[in-house]
Symmetry: C2
């Protein structure tokens, strides 16, 4: 078993995925805390409320969901322990994602901005809806009440494929979101070139995280 | 062999990938020809020059490059024929991509806009550079002068993995590009809601194309 794993071509990739995810999170926090207004859900400053959105979506639906994909490789213990961690991580990701979406709707309400007009919002809302469907489908099929062995074997590649597609969608949502915000900031002369470069590096780290997570389970 | 292929879970996916790609191309053309100024590389109207960019990038680095990934499944004939078609499609994709990038630089020159500041441009330029590297690497390793069998066997999963990552990067570049353009149009009140919805549907089709191409070769 050990020899087999050592022969896999992408074996050294998982630590790189961890690193890229951590870099993305840190850059996002530097951006929101140093260059922007900070983050607070119950603030009177609408921009502090808004900033909860990019952080929680990245932390939940990209970072934790990405780690959930890698759980079967990285969590020590039996298959059942790995499955439980995978399920729990995805549940946490969904909860953070829902709070993150509430934050942006609250921001829109505070500034009387319309909802759901952009490509970013269309990709994002499709992602969270499919994510919830995938979680329920996975829970019912693989945990409780659990389908027959035959059904589980047939469902597994579809569950894995949809999971990978969802990470890919979440990353597209994140990148289009960063692009929208950066374009607005630049257009209104509200950001220095240094800040815009930081946003670009955050986006690149998110993209690399997605590529390396995908590679690590390929 | 036939029975094995029929048992693959994602067998019916390839036609869906073809359809999504075609829909994305048609929507893009409707947008550029009906809602925007049309496309012409040698025009005096900078916006007609600009419009060459989104069309060629989508047609080259997403649509044709996506079909090149599926060539080993869909092109009839021997493995060598498939390999030749795959190589040729990727070469055409690179040429279209380079002309597409020249178009946007020409547009920037005409309107004195700075180059390479956005996340879209950073992702895009990384994608085309890596794409050229991947093509040269693939040509030298698998076609001429061709590496030893041992090296080819070791290189194949890396070549496939980088190819999938590049399609994923090209799609992220396309979506961030659409997002940037749509944000600017909306901000300057230059587009109707109907046009912005068309852009969103174009983006969703591109995203689905990527997911289905990836699934069809998973």
């Amino acid at each position: 078993m050990d020899i087999d794993r050592r022969m896999l071509p992408y074996r050294g990739i998982t630590p790189v995925a961890y690193l890229a995810g951590l870099v993305a999170l840190i850059l996002m926090l530097v951006w929101l805390l140093h260059y922007r207004e900070g983050l607070e859900y119950d603030s009177d400053n609408p921009y502090r409320v808004f900033n909860v959105h990019p952080f929680l979506m990245l932390f939940g639906l990209v970072y934790i969901a990405g780690h959930a994909i890698m759980a079967y490789k990285m969590v020590p213990g039996s298959h059942n322990v790995q499955k439980f961690v995978h399920m729990l991580q995805n549940l946490v990701a969904i909860c953070l994602g829902i709070i993150g979406i509430c934050a942006v709707f609250k921001f829109h309400d505070m500034l009387k901005i319309e909802d759901m007009y952009s490509l970013h919002s269309w990709i994002g809302i499709s992602t969270i809806c499919l994510f919830c469907f995938q979680w329920v489908f996975g829970f019912v099929t693989f945990m409780f009440p659990r389908a027959s062995t035959h059904t589980r074997v047939r469902a597994r590649p579809w569950h894995a494929a949809l999971g990978r597609a969802l990470l890919y969608m979440a990353i597209c949502a994140a990148l289009t979101g960063l692009m929208e915000k950066a374009t607005l900031l630049k257009q209104n002369n509200q950001a220095s070139q240094r800040e815009l470069h930081l946003v670009n590096f955050t986006g690149l780290s998110i993209l690399l995280f997605g590529i390396f997570v995908d590679l690590s389970v390929a």
